[in-house]
């Protein structure tokens, strides 16, 4: 801090510079000397409010949920049942379906919005009116999840727009109740979610594309790379940092998918389209199986943290190297 004001010849004697600080008496300096300015503990008072917030809003509820999952709790009375809630999870076919739906959401959200976002960003990168095309695709992202769900409800019901269009063009055989039967209700909602989520991915990939150094592209062009080879060997590796973010966000978002499903199907019919987030909500707040809901929440948390951590751990070291190199 003081070094910045130090004349060049004084750089070799930093202790001398410190003595010249006029507002601090030696006594005061000694007083703060235990934890020198900039020492590891000096920031603690400043960080405490943040710790308090995270502690109260995140850490405590988490451990409270873990604790609660060992109880049979109906909101009024509770009794300790150990791991009973977890063994019940293993036997519950609805939990199994819910887990499967969640995995479908992860797979679908990784495949569709990420791929679509990448392709659209690359295709529109140097295109004339490309930014307008990107803007059109980004627009749905500005709509809330709930509004998107209401919109797609108009499209996906048996008498909705999708079936009307199919019937209108003579494809009556393809018209079906999209939201009533598993697995197409989950698949339909993944498509609806893709419609909304792709826009953000396009933005992120477009930023990544602009960050690719011009020289790299030109060098590749001089070496004769173009088209697919350019994409495969230059563009894609250069987008690594952005891809890590996009894929990481897609994993977490898909694991906690809720609003669209809740509005479109409420997890039904017959609980067929529930994801873990919905099952947790339904068990806890509709059926008042608070302990059982906590157990589902914990399973979901473990999956979210484990998958995010594993993914980022695999990706981050390489990414940092790439970032330094670029």
């Amino acid at each position: 801090m003081t070094g910045t004001a130090t004349p060049a010849h004084g750089a070799a004697k930093p202790t001398h510079v410190r003595r010249r600080v006029p507002v601090r008496t030696p006594h005061q300096a000694a007083k703060t000397g235990g934890g020198r300015l900039g020492g590891p503990l000096a920031a603690l008072p400043w960080a405490l409010p943040a710790f308090a917030f995270v502690g109260v809003l995140l850490v405590y509820p988490f451990f409270r949920s873990v604790y609660g999952s060992f109880f049979e709790d109906n909101g009024f009375t509770s009794s300790f049942t150990g791991f009973d809630n977890y063994t019940r999870l293993a036997d519950d076919p609805i939990f199994g379906r819910s887990l499967l739906n969640t995995l479908m959401w992860v797979a679908g959200t990784l495949l569709l919005p990420v791929l679509a976002g990448l392709l659209i960003a690359v295709a529109t990168h140097r295109m004339r009116c490309g930014r307008i095309a990107q803007l059109v695709i980004v627009l749905p992202f500005a709509i809330s999840g709930a509004a998107t769900a209401v919109l797609w409800n108009f499209m996906l019901t048996s008498e909705g727009a999708v079936n009307q269009v199919l019937r209108g063009v003579g494809l009556d055989g393809l018209a079906q109740p999209w939201l009533l039967e598993w697995p197409q209700n989950t698949l339909s909602m993944i498509v609806a979610s893709t419609w909304q989520a792709t826009g953000l991915n396009v933005v992120l990939f477009a930023i990544g594309l602009r960050a690719i150094p011009r020289e790299t592209v030109e060098a590749a062009e001089l070496d004769g790379a173009s088209g697919w080879r350019m994409f495969r060997y230059i563009t894609l590796p250069q987008l690594r940092a952005v891809s890590v973010v996009v894929v990481g966000m897609a994993i977490v978002n898909s694991l906690k998918a809720f609003d669209m499903i809740w509005i479109l199907t409420k997890g039904g019919p017959s609980r067929s389209s529930e994801t873990l987030a919905l099952s947790m909500y339904r068990e806890t707040f509709r059926l008042f199986h608070v302990g059982y809901g906590s157990a589902i929440a914990l399973v979901l948390s473990v999956i979210v943290v484990a998958s995010s951590w594993t993914y980022l751990r695999r990706q981050m070291p390489d990414t940092s190297t790439t970032a330094v190199q670029s």
């Binding site: 019901t157 048996s158 939201l179 039904g268 017959s270 008042f288």
Partner: protein, 428 residues
């Protein structure tokens, strides 16, 4: 210098104001309403104005004003009720469900015994005494009826006239009407699993018409879902599917109401509260909107009709407890009821108050004239978590009608477990 100080002072003022506001809000919850006012927490926005109208009427007859507070999220509403009932931050009064849901709440000891108010209202002729069971727990009354919706079949009189169909007076007449509508290219019946809860409607309607006693016993855990009579009800519904009488199962009530007014759907089974939705879709009572009670399939069975009634509840620990209890004494007063049910456009539990909507007034006349047995709705019958789960089972049946036997077995399995828990809780 002063220029740099002002913003920080403003910030400080803002923080102080925010803290004071938060404190005031917190205290506001605890302190309740000012004297002479009592808040009623509900879960339905369309009930806000009727409640305000009832509150204004009550001010005239009992010098107490009811103030509506609405939390339109069902889940959030229930959470607030459940989590606050044992604390002094609980609302003073609630709009709650009748039947087992009310019993569930009464069991906590967090709501007031209103038996005295009930008896007083019965003595004055302000309430239909046959509704008592729906608001009773351990022979004490814990809620007062707010509305009285009958579950009926809505139809479009213009469409019926155009196809020479009369509102059926017998079960066979009902089947004939369905067949005739189908022949005319109109989907005869609205069936739906959309929004989850409506999945029980047809099971409730058919079962209560085939055997109302069995319906009552099954709903109260005295009979079994695997009984042939329950199977017969589901087979009857399956036969409607076979004849292609139902709309797609994802047609919501709002869309069905519009389709009925338009004349593309023949009949919609619903509580009379659908009247406001029908009116919103352009329906005019008596012109293009009519309603009839589904006739009994078994002419020897006791004629019955399903009803639905919300409960006005006073909490034990509410901040304005005394005023809340006093307000319950005036709730069924004809002036209050007239203001409330008139604004709500629904049926009224006070027989002295005629429904504002002529269709509902006609139904009330028939129900009271024919002395129909009032059976509480499926949703309020049975332990709440059993109902929540069986509704999902019935949705599964509606989507795969041939699965009726396995559906009933699953439902019975749930019922065995849920009733065991319920009865254990009764004893504890």
């Amino acid at each position: 210098m002063s220029g740099s100080r002002h913003p920080s002072m403003d910030r400080r003022t803002l923080l102080v104001a925010a803290a004071a506001g938060a404190l005031a809000t917190a205290c506001g919850t605890a302190a309740g309403q000012p004297p002479g006012k009592v808040a009623v927490l509900g879960d339905s926005l369309p009930w806000e104005k009727p409640m305000a109208a009832a509150g204004a009427a009550m001010k005239r007859v009992a010098s107490l004003q009811l103030v509506p507070e609405v939390n339109p999220s069902l889940e959030s509403f229930e959470q607030i009720v459940r989590s606050s009932l044992r604390t002094n931050k609980t609302p003073d009064m609630l709009k709650y469900w009748s039947g087992y849901r009310l019993q569930d709440l009464a069991r906590t000891g967090g709501i007031e015994d209103l038996t005295h108010q009930w008896d007083d209202a019965v003595a004055k002729g302000w309430v239909d005494p046959s509704l008592r069971g729906a608001f009773t727990y351990h022979r004490r009354v814990y809620g007062l009826p707010m509305n009285l919706a009958y579950w009926v079949m809505f139809y479009n009189p213009q469409v019926f006239r155009a196809h020479d169909i009369k509102p059926p007076g017998t079960w066979d007449g009902f089947l004939t009407a369905c067949a005739r509508l189908k022949k005319a290219g109109i989907t005869p019946l609205h069936g739906t699993a959309a929004d989850r809860w409506p999945s029980f409607i047809w099971f409730q309607e058919v079962l209560s018409r085939q055997d109302p006693r069995f319906y009552q016993d099954l709903m109260n855990g005295r009979e079994r879902y695997t009984d042939p009579r329950a199977e017969r009800a589901l087979r009857t519904i399956a036969s409607f599917f076979d004849k292609d009488w139902f709309t797609p199962m994802d047609l919501s009530h709002t869309d069905a109401a519009a389709a009925l007014v338009r004349g593309t759907v023949g009949m919609v089974a619903c509580g009379t509260w659908l009247g406001s939705t029908l009116a919103g879709a352009g329906g005019k009572p008596g012109e293009n909107v009519g309603a009839f009670v589904l006739p009994m399939a078994d002419p020897k069975a006791r004629p019955s009709v399903i009803f639905e009634s919300s409960a006005l509840v006073a909490t034990v620990k509410g901040a304005d407890h005394d005023e809340a209890v006093e307000a319950t004494g005036a709730w069924l007063h004809p002036a209050v009821m007239r203001a409330f049910s008139g604004a709500l456009q629904d049926g009224c539990p006070n027989p002295k108050v005629k429904a504002a909507n002529p269709v509902i007034a006609g139904l009330a006349k028939k129900v009271r004239g024919d002395k129909l047995w009032l059976l509480n709705r499926f949703w309020e019958q049975g332990p709440p978590e059993l109902v929540e789960a069986t509704v999902d089972d019935l949705a599964g049946f509606l989507l795969n009608p041939s699965s009726y036997r396995s559906t009933l077995r699953t439902m019975q399995g749930r019922a065995d477990e849920a009733w065991k828990v319920w009865r254990e809780a009764e004893q504890s």
